[in-house]
């Protein structure tokens, strides 16, 4: 079926809470993110930023017993999936949206050989295709030798497992592949191979990708557009070059300086002062205020919708420092 290019995923001002031990944890706070057909979008954030919740909610995978969508919408290929039942979500999983995870062992069936697991996904999503030939094709795509079909997941190396999980996901012919920390458990050389593979697959299949990582270098190397999350808010987004070279939000600036791992004249590393936010006790306004040396009075009241980050590219930031053109950082008395 020919598909009109558009937004394969649209998260619109989505808020998600978890009930944990009598407390309400605000995992996503009016976060927005769009992935267009065919593009590679990176989502970066630290632990507790809400990035994995965003990935899971995009496939209806948040635990219904404790999680609740408070407001906002999820649109998959233009369909409003916010209030979908489990059965309705089931019809969207794999095609048009598939997902791979940090730990493939958790998602591959441990007592089933790899071949039948790939075949299962082919049979379900493209029953019209010759099965064996399609499995061969998928293995070739993820660059695994065909002997792997007879192996059990535990017999494979970490990199091979991730390739096997990718083959299962690609068997569904997704329009969007969500990859949640796909290389975090891997060694650097294997990580580089998997990243190269993901880029190659995107090019060959024309599929969109949402790559989620805490590692800024990985996202910078593989994505065209970037979203930055902090305490459940999407605080900055734009072209990869714009966000990484001219970060706008004080948090993104601090994060990039810290990630750069260079010591200053006093021999110290760049840090962000203070502790990560407690999602059960978020202050009103911008959640970064307690750690921000540029905070203005309005920052503690509410968070702006979005301002132009004025880096010359399409680049948005949710920070009051950018309220008026030409002011930027000067308003806070620096730079």
């Amino acid at each position: 079926m020919a598909v009109q290019p558009g937004n394969i995923l649209e998260i619109d001002a989505l808020s998600v809470t978890y009930r944990v031990r009598g407390k309400t944890v605000r995992a996503m706070n009016a976060a927005s993110l769009t992935v267009r057909d065919g593009e590679a979008v990176g989502l970066v954030g630290e632990s507790g930023s809400g990035k994995s919740t965003l990935a899971r909610v995009s496939l209806g995978l948040i635990p219904r017993k404790i999680a609740r969508i408070e407001s906002g919408r999820i649109l998959i290929a233009g369909r409003d999936a916010t209030r979908f039942s489990e059965t309705e979500w089931e019809s969207l999983r794999g095609d048009p949206v598939a997902m791979v995870f940090q730990d493939p062992l958790t998602y591959l069936n441990p007592v089933m050989r790899v071949g039948p697991q790939i075949a299962e996904s082919v049979r379900r999503h493209t029953p019209e295709l010759p099965l064996d030939q399609r499995v061969e094709e998928l293995l070739e795509l993820v660059k695994l030798p065909s002997v792997v079909t007879r192996a059990y997941p535990h017999e494979l190396s970490g990199g091979m497992r991730q390739r096997a999980l990718l083959a299962v996901a690609l068997g569904c012919r997704p329009r969007l592949l969500i990859a949640d920390e796909p290389t975090t458990a891997l060694d650097v050389t294997t990580q580089a191979e998997i990243l190269a593979l993901l880029k190659d697959l995107r090019r060959r299949l024309g599929m969109a990708m949402l790559l989620i990582s805490h590692d800024l270098g990985i996202v910078a190397s593989a994505c065209e557009r970037i979203y930055v999350m902090y305490a459940g808010h999407t605080i900055e987004w734009g072209g990869a070059g714009a966000v990484f070279q001219t970060p706008a939000h004080p948090y993104t600036v601090g994060l990039l300086r810290a990630a750069h791992a260079v010591r200053n004249a006093e021999g110290r590393f760049a840090t962000i002062a203070g502790d990560p936010p407690n999602l059960a006790e978020l202050p009103p306004g911008c959640p970064f205020v307690p750690r921000c040396s540029h905070a203005l009075a309005e920052c503690s009241r509410d968070m702006p919708e979005r301002f132009d980050a004025r880096s010359g590219d399409p680049h948005s930031v949710r920070c009051w420092l950018y309220e008026k053109p030409g002011l930027g950082f000067d308003r806070a008395g620096t730079g």
Partner: protein, 266 residues
């Protein structure tokens, strides 16, 4: 001058359940000088953690000697060994696993400070202060689960420092830490080194941290050290093909051009 720690021709093999043999460490020579920071880098399975455990005396090498401040640890009787080993303290990746969850910070610190002449409580507070858990007195009654990940790692560091070690062996101390917390822990380690002159053997897979943090680096592959030298030199212009491959695989990030314009939360 003799080195603080010297591993001499150390080897260790493990037997797998199937009967096959893994040569985890093969004839390694490695030295850490007084006050020196050495990074031991390599991928998983390279043998770097095994080597760290041998240095700490947690594993017996099949062959070779572990010399600490001129004494051969393999030859010391148990009670002398215990005493000699206090000059060396470990910090692990997972502070949660290395701190007894049923002990408060006060109990954990008291345990480490046992047998010291000074008032234990005061010393514990001073140590907690020095690792940035301020005011230290407020942290004494807390249990590990009441601390954030970064705070737990600080408590683990405070406990390691309690015995005034000459060498801290840190096995992936930053792996669980977020980028914004990483710098805080590294700066803490740098400050401790400046104040107390401790040496570090940091075992890490993170090339960019090793390059910036360490004086010297040793690159390990399949149980052997394939390249060693000044950290900046080796990890910027590697000679060995494996080091080259390792360095090239790290996705590099340039410094943001406007980083100076906005100093985030200093």
């Amino acid at each position: 001058m003799e080195p603080l720690l010297a591993l001499q021709n150390v080897s260790k093999t493990f037997r797998r359940s199937g009967g096959s043999v893994v040569h985890a460490v093969r004839g390694v020579d490695l030295e850490v000088g007084y006050g020196e920071t050495l990074a031991l880098v390599g991928e998983s399975g390279s043998g770097k953690s095994t080597l760290g455990r041998i240095a700490l005396g947690l594993l017996k090498p099949d062959q070779g000697r572990v010399m600490l401040a001129g004494k051969c640890l393999n030859e010391l009787p148990p009670d002398e060994l215990r005493l000699a080993r206090t000059a060396m303290q470990p910090i692990f990746q997972d502070a949660t696993a290395s701190l007894n969850p049923r002990r408060s910070a006060r109990e954990l610190m008291a345990q480490a400070l046992r047998g010291r002449p000074q008032a234990i409580e005061q010393r514990a507070i001073a140590l907690l202060d020095s690792v940035g858990l301020r005011p230290g007195a407020e942290y004494l009654p807390r249990y590990p689960h009441e601390l954030s990940g970064g705070q737990r790692q600080r408590l683990a560091i405070a406990r390691a420092l309690a015995v005034e070690p000459k060498l801290v062996i840190a096995d992936e101390p930053l792996s669980g830490a977020d980028v914004s917390i990483r710098g805080q822990i590294l700066n803490l380690l740098i400050g401790i080194k400046e104040e107390r002159g401790v040496a570090y053997l940091m075992i890490t897979h993170d090339i960019s941290i090793a390059r910036a943090f360490a004086d010297r680096v040793a690159v390990m592959m399949q149980g052997e050290i394939v390249e060693t030298g000044p950290a900046k030199e080796v990890l910027s212009a590697p000679r060995h093909s494996y080091t080259k491959q390792l360095v090239a695989a790290v996705p590099m990030l340039d410094a943001p051009v406007n980083a100076g314009a906005l100093e985030a939360g200093d």
